[in-house]
Amino acid sequence: MITGNGIVKTFKQRGNMLGAREVRALRGVDFSIPKGGAASFIGESGCGKTTLGRIIAGLETYDDGEIVIDGVPMSSLTLKRRQPHFRKIQMIHQDPYSALNPTRTVHQTLRAPLALRAKQTGRSKAWMDERAAEVLSLVGLDPATVLARYPHQLSGGMRQRVVIARALTVDPEMLVADEAVSMIDVSLRLGILALLKDLRERLGVSVLFITHDVATARYIGDDGDLYVIYRGQVVERGPVDTVIADPVHPYTQSLLSAIPVLHGLELPGEQPVVPLEALNAGQDDVGCLFAPRCPFRGERCDTERPLLQLTEGVPQEHACFHPERRSVIARPMSEV
């Protein structure tokens, strides 16, 4: 179980004569991902979802808040002591082309973390080779053919599988997949997604999926929570299918409305929401972060910031003063 409470992260850009500029990447985010469970972060680029994923994987520090891994609060430990905890959380990056060292064979790539593992547990060299073959089989690759190959001899889909295999060498509890299929060919994407789903079921690893593609998030973790993040704040959170079918925050509605409609198979949603302006045209300190782009803003939205909470009659948490269900996603023609 991994939880976060009030995670805050501010990036300070190098100053110029007008002073340093601060970018508030995360403004107090809470999350919780149960063992073997799933969660998805969605939002536009720049919303902070990748930063949050990196913090959870221990690749980035945070300024405030607390991350608790299996009951151990990370702030109580020194950086060095945190390492074994964060090792349970492995990151799958977006680009399998740059995530693998081009001068190492698959075998060499897997051997480095396995050597560490063998040293820790006092296992033999033979165990390392056995385990390397095992993790490759787990991700659907044939060890005999890929072990000796270099990354350039593999397709994008195979490389991403090697990256996942490498993550599995340390017996992780959670995989953080950051846009893990967006650079994979369309016909191979589902294979990688199905693999992540399968690893959840077979090994009990939890998966945190970070994406702007809501449908792939649903595919991996329809039993988990969907977190909609806007400018560093979670604006809506609830079970995946609830948020997709009955979103109440206008930003979630805008995101879902923007998903292309497969005309011929689907009919457009009934109440699409189009945001008023582009991102970053925004107030920072007071009022709702989404208000400048919100077609439904009221007076209160300019003066007070809504916090993520449960309100009467809405099953999911949201951060909006005027939550209203709207049917925005495309409907399959077969069901109309």
């Binding site: 536009e44 191979l188 589902l190 199905a194 997709i244 079918a245 497969l262 582009a278 399959p332």
Partner: protein
Amino acid sequence: MAQATTGQAPGVRVDGLTVVYKTPAGELPAVRDVSLTLEPGSITGIVGESGSGKSTLALSLLNAVQPPGRISAGSVEIDGLGDVVGFEGERLRKARGAHIGYVFQAAQNSLNPLKTVGKQLLDLGRSHGVEDRRGLLREAQELLGRMGLDGARVLDSYQHELSGGMRQRVGIMLALVLNAQVVVLDEPTTALDMITQANILKIVREVHAERGLTTLVITHDIGVVAEVADRLAVMYGGRLVEQGPTRQVLGDPRHPYTKGLIKAIPRLVGDIDQARALPGRPPTLATVPKAGCVFRERCALRMDICDTDDPAAVAHGPRIVACHAVKVKEHA
């Protein structure tokens, strides 16, 4: 000059086009015997995975395939211009930009980081002998304004001062500012997030209609084509395997590859397990079979004839399908 076509969108006819790349294993075809008609005033979408030859096909419209590649057979006939495959030198350079606008893949990176957008625009004008520089700037400002940007500000900006969506719009402006009537957009929304993508697609549709263009959109994302295109063409291993009106192809795909591709898209509603992965993987230039159907390795309907004979593209009404299995079904 070819001014006769002004006001009316030109049609484009690609016929029997083959583009080969020189490799250590000899010349290998990236695009093989492709025929495709872009009806005047239509938006056509080409969908394909990496290595399917879709970008090579798009570059052929400009006769811009770079060595070690070359167009080895076929023609690209553009109304009011002629067969661009035969063009070279100055004549070709003038056709590009003035007749055919091209919005490059990752427009994010196709701008010069050292020059403002306005300077690059003037460079473009100079290289095409535009004398009315004020007119050119005015036109560019209007186009940018049309796409929801502050034209004057954007022209004064360097690329790093613009967001991804803004740069993509600058790319579209540069493709249209010389009044090109045929526009090719290569992966216009890749690397943009959902809301920006929806905005860009809306702009593509609107500008297309307002200026009476003939538009070709190249993408790996069926959703993008579904949103903008009248006609959809599916490419695989250098071949066009299926074409037809977008809604018909999506609603009732005929070619096994198209079927598999549509089935492999996870959906927002309904049973998750309906989505099925396509087995195998797409061929590369080196692994495309020399004879027979390019898709047979991954095909559930594979027959003996698929190993030896490349299926011809056969028209069934407005639909064109290149598959032995589909033909058999139609005749039976």
